[in-house]
Amino acid sequence: MAHRVAVEAPLAPNPVIVASMGHAGVGIGAEAYRWVLIDVGADPKAPTLMGEKQQLEVLRRYGSTILRFGASLRRGETPLIPRALLVDLDPRSANLILQSYPQLFAMKDKHAVYGMGGAARNWAEGRLRFRKEIVERQDIKTRIQAISPEPVRGFVVPFSMGGGTGGSFSSEFMAYVKGSDTLGQATIATFGILPEFGWDPVIYGPAHISIVMNLAHQIRYSDAPILLDNKELRFHAERHKDKLAARSSIVDELPKQIRVGWHDYRDKNLLAAHAIAEFMDSFIRETEWDMSNYRTWLAASKPKFVVPWLIPLVPEGGPSLRTIEQAMKEGNEGILFDLDSEGEIPKGQTDSACVLVKTKGSLTPEEREYFKKLLQERFDIKDRRIIFIKIPAMEKEPASACILLNLKAVGQKLIPMVAEAEDAWESYKDEYQKRELSHEEFKQAVIQVSGHLG
């Protein structure tokens, strides 16, 4: 049996690690793995492949890009383990995931990298402590090698941008990876979530400073900077709460006494996880498109940020285009970022899109035409600026599409945040300067971000 797997298994591509940063990032990253495992038909609590046929099928579909095979505990069963790092200053979020999913995150504390407690919603404190507690004390390089001994070809990094830990950790992690001799060539895709002020537990002024510093790092280091915002996530989650209630979530498995914080984010995180899972599918299920291709697509774009449009938001139905058409008719679709500017979405000359189509079989001309029309109607994106990527759906898997939109309008929505950050800086600069974020470094970030977005 093992011989057949050894002979017929495809060559393993170099892996991609999901490095989740901060409380929100840890929740969303773990949820994204659940989504991927459910898609492939595995039990997300204890994903074990029974027998070589199933093992080969998963290997052929996914390779071992984001999952690795663990040591078999029972004869003929092979556990699947996420190549995931759950990084936070506070160990509680990663602990909850590890305790609730001991068989999924089977490498136990190798998945969790944590420091000495919160970053006080202060980007500078988070960065300083990432350097001291995560890079030096926890030796992040060794921790990456422990989770994935093979050379890493990419990182997917989910995080919240307005808090202290996610925004700062992801910034410094990107700088660390790109400055590393061994990891520097790896592609970085970031999933940054903007807060909804007045709803999320963030502090207005410092959150803007964190956002600007993080945007500057994304501009500099992220090859595929993908933005989502909690306002739109909440709007869509409310609209589809019944459908989302029918899906299982990591939150449902957490001990009731301590799931309060994440409970409010259950449905929003499911939508964010859906987008991340579709993004990962684009380079793990097909050989035509590599994760690094996103880098070239966005390298010369201003802004280089993209936002996801999910159709449907909550998958249901069969694996054909009809399912997507039906979802559009029913309003089971949505962009996970608020693009409206006084009732309309400003159009850019070089707006472009990358359409990830998950349907059964090959990409048909009908599918291409459908999405071209959709994009032209809503965004006026020219044919030649649309990239199609086919994700082959399984027999019973619902069809879906994730359209990554690179629009000028995204930049225009972010610019006001730079102005807010500048105002906040005057009041908070002493707090930040004490923690090694200099006045000049902040101002340089402002110039970089406003120059890029303006």
Binding site: K413, I415, D423, E440, Q444, I447, Q448, G451, H452, G454
Partner: protein, 186 residues
């Protein structure tokens, strides 16, 4: 707008700022004396009576009014100059009179200003607007009063970087100019 016009305005602005600081210092002194006048006047009067001269009340109130009026005028002048400079940098039509051919020196391409011009006032004012020290570092471009240096090995790309740096400066200045209108979108 030409950078030379900006330089003249920036020079005037720096002078006006210096004048404003002097006025505020003097105003502060006069206001302090005015506050202490009732307490001191009584003893002063006694002294003048002792030496047999008439005591005259110092014209501090008038001086204070005069200084306040001067301060108002200087502040208005500063505001106008700042607005002119901000408009110049944010208009997208600013002419920066550089020599077209840079000189490679120590891994950097240096662009000198034509006619050996230098713009110390503009650079100082820009430093204040952007909040970064002189020389101004914008990405891989460094701006000194008399030259611009670019960390680049290819002359063509060095020129592109200069254009990009001034574009970034323009956008950042625009942001500051219209903060209020941006804020309403948040």
């Amino acid at each position: 707008m030409n950078l030379m016009e900006v330089e003249v305005t920036a020079g005037r602005l720096l002078e006006e700022k210096k004048r404003l600081r002097a006025i505020e210092s003097e105003l502060s002194r006069v206001s302090r004396e005015l506050k202490e006048l009732p307490r001191r006047a009584e003893k002063d009067k006694k002294f003048y009576a002792l030496i047999g001269l008439d005591w005259e009340e110092p014209k501090l109130k008038e001086r204070e009014q005069q200084l306040k009026a001067e301060r108002e005028a200087v502040m208005k002048s500063i505001e106008e100059a700042q607005s002119k400079i901000l408009s110049g940098f944010s208009s997208g039509e600013l002419v920066v009179p550089l020599e077209p051919n840079p000189v490679l020196d120590g891994g950097l391409y240096y662009f000198r200003f034509r006619s050996q011009a230098s713009f110390p006032n503009t650079v100082e004012e820009l430093s204040e607007i952007l909040g970064i020290p002189v020389p101004l570092r914008v990405g891989e471009v460094t701006i000194w009063p008399d030259r611009i240096g670019v960390k680049e090995v290819d002359q063509y790309f060095a020129k592109l970087k200069v254009v990009e740096a001034f574009d970034n400066v323009r956008k950042t200045v625009s942001l500051k100019l219209s903060k209020e209108s941006y804020r309403k979108h948040v």
